[in-house]
């Protein structure tokens, strides 16, 4: 028995109301009725994100990802590593986002020809061909408003005129012949803190994950090295393929020929499992009394171990128990909102002033006669701390070899809350 046609056979894009709004086949056409199995699974799932990423059907397998409320459903005919497909689909979404700024149904429909051209280049016979954004941009120019206007008038094209060379290069992630009048290289060190804080305020788990995102606009073929003051902080790292692994192993230096434009140079995990400084604390008192139709709600936020930097863009959200009918709360600053249907409470706090701590106090009205809810809501916190990387990671220096000009260099640090939850 034969199982030809491995890898990705077809792709369907499904919107949140269950309409297929785009299909692409790399081999013979698979009827869109195959998606019925997907819709069945979608119906069974309580939440959109609970649709299983892999669904077996009698003749095919459906592997899907959900991004921006669009399901990208790939049709597979035989054995293939599921992550292979999932990773590829995410790469497709990233590419769309890169090209159109957003990845929405409207954007895809408006640019359907570019989308088709991209998909054509990204997969050959269902096997990934060109997935590097630098190469794709050489093949297919991203639409801009100006170009769209010009194209409609002159009938010229989105397709690159000259033949792409990137694919042939041994540095496939960088296009050749890059030229800038202002040569700049910017690096953003962004750290996210994931934490679970328990009722009493002690940390159950906390870890820092960081990324270094780069925006490099340099002429020619620059060869960069980036070194850290304290590279030992980095416990587990994953690199953009441009980073020379051996040099990192030997010297803890990032040495690379950068792609042109925006890219993620490095993701890392910080090796201080138990010593993560938690930058914010929450005092809470959320109580429901048996037999009473009222509940108390009190929340106070304060900064903690922020190394003198302010907490900004603080946003609190919490899923209140189903028994809560409405809330009557008073924020000392910012605005709060409670959706009685989804029971989602959100409080946009803004900046925290250490002299005057923000609080949200008041009462909740509960369903009359119903017993008190068992569960206590979890509080999710988002915040930002500018100009500081929580782990203390510091870039030492950035050097450029291979080109003669002096580039402009910049490094920015930021800390954000990742999945930061306080259990009450």
């Amino acid at each position: 028995m034969q199982f030809p046609a491995k890898m990705i056979h077809s792709l369907f894009l499904v919107n949140s109301s269950g309409d297929i709004f785009l299909e692409k086949h790399w081999k013979s056409v698979v009827s869109r009725s195959v998606c019925d199995y997907f819709f069945e699974a979608q119906e069974r799932a309580s939440e959109p994100e609970n649709v299983p990423p892999v669904i077996p059907t009698p003749h095919h397998y459906l592997i899907s990802v959900l991004r921006h409320r669009i399901y990208f459903v790939a049709v597979i005919q035989s054995e293939v590593p599921p992550l292979f497909v999932i990773e590829f689909l995410h790469r497709v979404v990233d590419t769309f986002q890169d090209y159109f700024g957003v990845c929405t149904e409207a954007a895809i429909k408006d640019n359907v020809v570019v989308v088709y051209e991209l998909l054509e280049e990204m997969l050959d016979n269902g096997f990934p061909l060109a997935t590097e954004s630098n190469i794709l941009k050489e093949l297919i120019k991203p639409p801009t408003i100006l170009r769209t206007v010009v194209n409609t008038i002159t009938g010229s094209t989105n397709v690159g005129e000259q033949l792409p060379t990137g694919q042939l290069s041994v540095v496939p992630w960088r296009r050749t012949g890059v030229k800038y009048t202002n040569n700049e290289a910017y690096f953003d060190v962004v750290e996210e803190i994931d934490a679970i804080i328990d009722k009493s305020g002690s940390t159950i788990t906390a870890e820092i994950q960081g990324v270094i995102d780069a925006c490099v606009k340099l002429t020619g073929m620059p060869d960069l090295t980036l070194s850290f003051m304290n590279p030992r902080l980095l416990d587990d790292v994953s690199f953009h393929p441009c980073v020379r692994f051996k040099r990192w192993e030997a010297e803890r230096i990032l040495s690379f020929i950068p792609p042109d434009g925006n890219f993620r140079l490095l993701s890392y995990h910080v090796s201080c499992q138990n010593l993560v400084a938690i930058p914010v604390y929450v005092k809470h008192n959320i109580t429901f009394r048996e037999g009473s139709s009222q509940g108390r709600f009190e929340l106070t936020l304060g900064p903690k171990q922020t190394m003198g930097k302010g907490l900004e863009a603080v946003l609190i959200s919490s899923q209140l128990p189903r028994g809560v009918l409405n809330t009557n709360l008073n924020p000392s600053q910012g605005t709060y909102n409670f959706d009685p249907v989804t029971k989602l409470l959100s409080w946009d706090v803004g900046k925290i002033n250490p002299q005057k701590l923000p609080s949200l106090k008041g009462s909740m009205s509960l369903q009359a006669g119903a017993s008190k809810p068992d569960e206590n809501p979890t509080i999710n916190i988002q915040f930002k701390i500018q100009q500081s990387a929580l782990s203390g990671l510091k870039v030492n220096r950035l050097d450029m070899y291979g080109e003669k000009y002096k580039p402009f260099k910049g490094i920015k640090y930021m800390t954000k809350a990742g999945k930061f939850q306080v259990r009450t």
């Binding site: 030809p4 599921p82 992550l83 788990t205 020379r244 051996k246």
Partner: protein, 1007 residues
Amino acid sequence: SRDSLKGTLPSSSPRHDDLKEMLDSNKDSLKLEAMKRIVAMIARGKNASDLFPAVVKNVACKNIEVKKLVYVYLVRYAEEQQDLALLSISTFQRGLKDPNQLIRASALRVLSSIRVTIIVPIMMLAIKEAASDMSPYVRKTAAHAIPKLYSLDPEQKDCLIEVIEKLLADKTTLVAGSVVMAFEEVCPERIDLIHKNYRKLCNLLIDVEEWGQVVIINMLTRYARTQFLNPNMNVSIADKEEKEKKKTEATAIVKRKPYVMDPDHRLLLRNTKPLLQSRNAAVVMAVAQLYFHLAPKAEVGVIAKALVRLMRSHSEVQYVVLQNVATMSIKRRGMFEPYLKSFYIRSTDPTQIKVLKLEVLTNLANETNISTILREFQTYIKSNDKDFVAATIQAIGRCATNIGEVRDTCLNGLVQLLSNRDELVVAESVVVIKKLLQMQPEQHSDIIKHMAKLTDNIQVPMARASILWLIGEYCEHVPKIAPDVLRKMAKTFTNEEDIVKLQIINLAAKLYLTNSKQTKLLTQYVLNLAKYDQNYDIRDRARFIRQLIVPTDKSGALSKYAKKLFLALKPAPVLESPFKDRDHFQLGSLSHLLNAKAGGYQVLPDWPEAAPDPSVRNVEVPEWTKCSSREKRKEKKADKPFYSDSEGESGPTESADSEEVKKSEKKSKPRIGSSESESEEDEDSESESSESEEEESEEESEEETKKKKKVGNERLENTHTTDIHTHSERRNTHILNCDSQPNTIASVQVFDTICKPAWLYMQFLLNPPLPVSVPQTIVPSGNLKTYELLHRITGEGLSVEYCFSRQPFSPDPHMVAVKIQFTNSATSEAKSLHVEDAKLQSGMRIKEFPEIEVLPAGETVSVVMGIDFCDSTQAANFQLCTHTRKFFVSIQPPVGELMMPIFMTENEFKKEQGQLMGMNEITEKLTLEEKCQGEHAVVQRVTTAANLSRVPCGSDKEFAGKTVTSGSLVLVSVVTKEDGAAQLTVNCEKMVIGTMLVKDILQALTQ
């Protein structure tokens, strides 16, 4: 938007005429507009096939975008319009001959995508030609075309295999991934095609694009399973010993023949490991599964961190990774234990992720962490995601069955849940409690009573049924309550669900058998109700049970056994993970995820009992290794892709790396560009000679030594075949391994001519422990430095010196031998010289020398004592006593004396070095002192500084030893470059020793 109306009309719509008109016009802009609208139709799944003739005419259009869109259309509809599609073929055939490689490639790509059977011969020809194209990009396209043709016409298999074979031999990274993909689709069973390319694929891997890496790694996993031996053979057999006797016999055999990992197996593990750092989750997963299936148990751990990292990714990635972690955590729990907290559940996780994390947490639970885990579970039970709560209760049940210590705690916790307001929670708890109680019912009759009361409130059928079963089964533990429950159930019987009814009948039957006095009538009543039930299963059951339990004249012998039938001791259910044994599917595969074999799944074979001939992977040694000219070697290096030198696949030498930097600085522009990759085959060897001299491409040097070894092997076999252990036939097991055999001397003498130093060391190994009179040749002669232990003046005429004799200390091999020389320059004789009152750091030991009874004036005597320094440079303090005095003395060893030489081949050295990377490796650059630039001088200085032996035949200056106490390996290599520049690398598990040794050797070489 305008098209959406059109699309709904039948395909013969006259509206398409305007599109046809536009396509026929000679304005490119109109054509383009038409093609865009057509592609938009295709994208929405509308039929545009009637436009085929109008579109296909534009296949040769000058405008690139029009042309591309025509290709899109053509590939989509060619199958339906075969005859018309043929019109376009000639355009592509012309394209295949274009001087521009990109045009050749794209022509082949489109041509091979046209699924029209009649062009199969044309395609075949095109693929064959493209496979020999100059451009690697075209060859890559040829590889992509192979599966296309194969799915169109499987008859072509044999021809295609030939092409695959040819392309597998390709040396460029661009082709490697694509051709392995073709191999996997067309002929995955032809594992023999891989042999000759195995090492090359391993070495190219890091430079292959990410998608190709996944395919290659998965294929190599399968390959390794057919060619190498199970690295855990001893361990795994020991695990299963109880299960299979047959295997125990195997153990015996295995024990006689120690496992040696094939260097090719090691190569694969070493070269895939860096890819755990890939940003591509599929690559990381591929390496993880490779390690899980192929690595020795002790090394699998490295993948845990990378897998945990993936959990930060998109939820779909998490989903797949967690499925695999769940399977792995059953077999290798310890690996994920440090990351326990990474599996804690957040209220915002999707339910399917929560359930999987729960599964992993349960698998990781053990006696030490169970209390933490249970505390977490308590939080989870309060969640308002009820499916998740149910899963948590199940998980608690499983923890309770697996870990006896917490069974009661869990049970109590679950009993508390019985008063939960949520019925689903209660129901799930009942089901789990039932299972737990089955394990030790006698202790828990109060819980059974408690549950009996629940029948009044709880409505979930499964829970009711469970309670009833429990009461029936253990009715003897609750003799008073059971009949009452039956009474209540009899009342509600008609309204119950079927599963509950069946359990009521069961309960009635069991009570009848144990307590017929009280329950006879009730049972009759229940059975009568059941007799007229609507469900035939229930009617059947009632009839059957009545016959069985109520003895009548007609009822046969069976009713005597009714009690045994109903109240037999039932084994407690085993609560197992659904992921148990799922690893018989290759991890990371679709089949593993679904726990069902997907079409096209290649079974991961079991390890072979005996390894197939490893020499099949030997590649004919190319010219350049024969002449050892450095320029020649470099030529090979030059045509390697971007990082191969800096990312050093096969060797641990760090030097290449730093040179890479210098090179790129010097040349001010790295080797990039299509011209190079195109011309690489015929690259001139001399062109790169400006590069620095010392560069060693590890791969080549390794192969070179292998070759030497092989020569040695053959000679050895010719002369003394009987002496040779079967191992020595293996290419990479070096000859000296046969040291355990007697009578090797003869064969060694043959070998002597090949490799003199090795012979010396071999003798060293052949006669342990060495007598004191061992030839001085082992130790660099005259290099023994003496230290003063006691000065003549302090010692009142007795002066004592010591040196480290570098001989094994025969009474205790874990001690450093210290030779102590007493000189009595006093006028009177010294008596009773001995050691006393040693003040030692914990762990240190001293083996004193035998007491010297008399040392006459003016005489000198030497003794040897042994000190176990515990691999530290802490001083050993003790008292040296004469008959009159006591002197406090101390011996502090230089770090170089804490080790002893061991013999190692270069291969082994490289292998071991590769395992001692990271923190265990220290590298220093240095400038050799003027007098010390010759090879001999370096060797001499290093061996003086440290008690190490040189690795014979090594192309570099490599030295090996192990620490005396713990036997940790100490590996030193000195790579010299021009102008006395050199690089020193020390690899040692004991980092302190490594650091100190570096310091000492640096000093020795620079001063």
